[in-house]
Amino acid sequence: MSENGFSSDEVMTVAAARELTDRTVCFVGIGLPSTAANLARLTHAPRTVLVYESGTIGSKPATLPLSIGDGELAETADAVVPVPEIFNYWLQGGRIDVGFLGAAQIDRFGNLNSTVIGDYDHPKVRLPGGGGAPEIAAMAKQVIVIIRQSQRTFVERLHFRSSVGYGTGPGDRERLGMSGGGPTVVITDLGLLRPDPESRELTLARIHPGVELDQVRESTGWPLRVADDLRETEPPLEDELRVLRELRATLEAAA
């Protein structure tokens, strides 16, 4: 909890929720993405459609799930479909507006590593792996990345490319035949970055309340581009924080 009365997790989650407009169809993973999408659904975007990779479409959980397959996701869904179908007909079919992704590392073009730290064959840290991310990154109309920002996570060179953002720059997604649009925003605990429309390089567009620009630069493993019109993130509203904290309490109560 910062002196502002909210934690860096909270400002990230609220910033992510705000990116969702109503009636958006979101493919959500567990953790911050699921929290952010449910926060949007319970505040400004009540008709947000949540799709979980376990096959639940239109889930409306009252409590936050710990896994992407909790029973409540199925009980409150409009439809539950087999896993091959969720990936083929719904994600690859081009019906997902927004995919939320996290990662262990990100590079300046929004490519993601969720596979290993170190060498693939002899890793220092074996991470969980790509899961649903490679195809979400390729196929969702728009991708929102949520990741803590530091020299360890914002790296010059990924140890493994698990999912593609903009590859090596403009035109790469098109060359790779990707049907989705790529990352439109990267939300961190320090601020919010958007790809430059021309170069596709991530550019700091918002800085969270109480964060210094130097701190953001020092937390980035490459020379950070900063938008000319850099502004401060609007702090979480009281109502957003209340709903978010109620949501998180349901998760802790269930454990």
Binding site: G71, G131, F160
Partner: protein, 272 residues
């Protein structure tokens, strides 16, 4: 027709050292009881196949059952690492673990191809990722009509497919509802299949959202009440989220892991 047998017999008849084995269940209906029976029977050199290895493969890897793993996401959902999986990959304990790594979409399509008796499936996926170079069961393929490049994944046909389900009738017809994941695909893709069930009933009441696997498509059915715990069985019991969180501490060190397995798995033959 599916044989109704005891779990011990089913595992000892169907699973052999060196087999490729898929214990599936996407978060829901993970066949823990069957996995524990495999551990108790000290099966070795298995190729373990699962989209999300979850705690069950963490346990089987730590217990020394596995030589190889085919998977797409190896974490403890919402909690963190699978420490036994990491220890095997990072330090070779208790034995080195070969990996064949895919994405979820790829694994799901590999199962579907296996169930369909075709040697590969086609998807838009993997392109631009390093999995393309690392994984031998992936290949570029061009559309014979449009020339577009897509990705082929080879079919998965495990020696044994194991899933948990809510119910079977006395004939061995199996009923599954809630999140159905890839339960049908893995039973149909495998040479031999074992379904553990919460209960055997006289008749399968139709349920909204339920699928039925006919008895003649299943090799064996074994009753295993609470056989998915700490995963869950929709309509029977909830996911034990607390256990998933406690597993982080239990599994972090080799000693505490082994102690837990001795007490909760090895010492419980037939009493589960």
């Amino acid at each position: 027709m599916a044989d109704l047998v005891r779990l011990e017999e089913a595992v000892s008849e169907l699973v052999h050292d060196g087999d490729s084995v898929a214990l599936e269940g996407f978060t829901h209906l993970i066949p823990f009881a069957a996995g524990h029976e495999i551990v108790r029977q000290r099966l070795r050199d298995l190729t373990l196949i699962r989209m999300t290895p979850d705690l069950i493969y963490d346990q089987m890897i730590g217990a020394g059952c596995a030589r190889r793993m085919i998977f797409s996401w190896g974490g403890n959902p919402g909690v963190g690492s699978l420490h036994r999986f990491r220890d095997a990959v990072e330090n070779g304990w208790p034995a080195p673990l070969e990996l064949e790594e895919h994405s979820h979409a790829g694994m799901a399509n590999r199962y579907a191809a296996g169930a369909s008796n075709i040697p590969f499936a086609v998807l838009r996926g993997y392109v631009g990722t390093e999995l393309m170079e690392r994984t031998g069961t992936l290949a570029p393929i061009s559309c014979p009509f449009t020339g577009e490049m897509l990705t082929a994944v080879s079919a998965l046909n495990p020696d044994v497919g194991i899933v948990h389900a809510q119910r079977a009738d006395r004939e061995g017809n199996v009923q599954i509802w809630g999140i159905i994941g890839v339960q049908k695909e893995i039973v149909l893709a495998s040479d031999r299949s074992l379904v553990t069930v919460e209960e055997v009933v006289a008749e399968l009441e139709p349920q909204p959202g339920a699928i039925v696997l006919p008895a003649w498509a299943v090799t064996a059915v074994a009753e295993a009440p609470r056989g998915a715990h700490p995963s869950y069985a929709h309509g029977y019991y909830d996911r034990d989220n607390g256990f998933y969180q406690r597993w982080d501490a239990i599994s972090r060190e080799r000693d505490t892991f082994t102690e837990w397995m001795d007490e909760h798995v090895m010492a419980r033959a037939g009493t589960r």
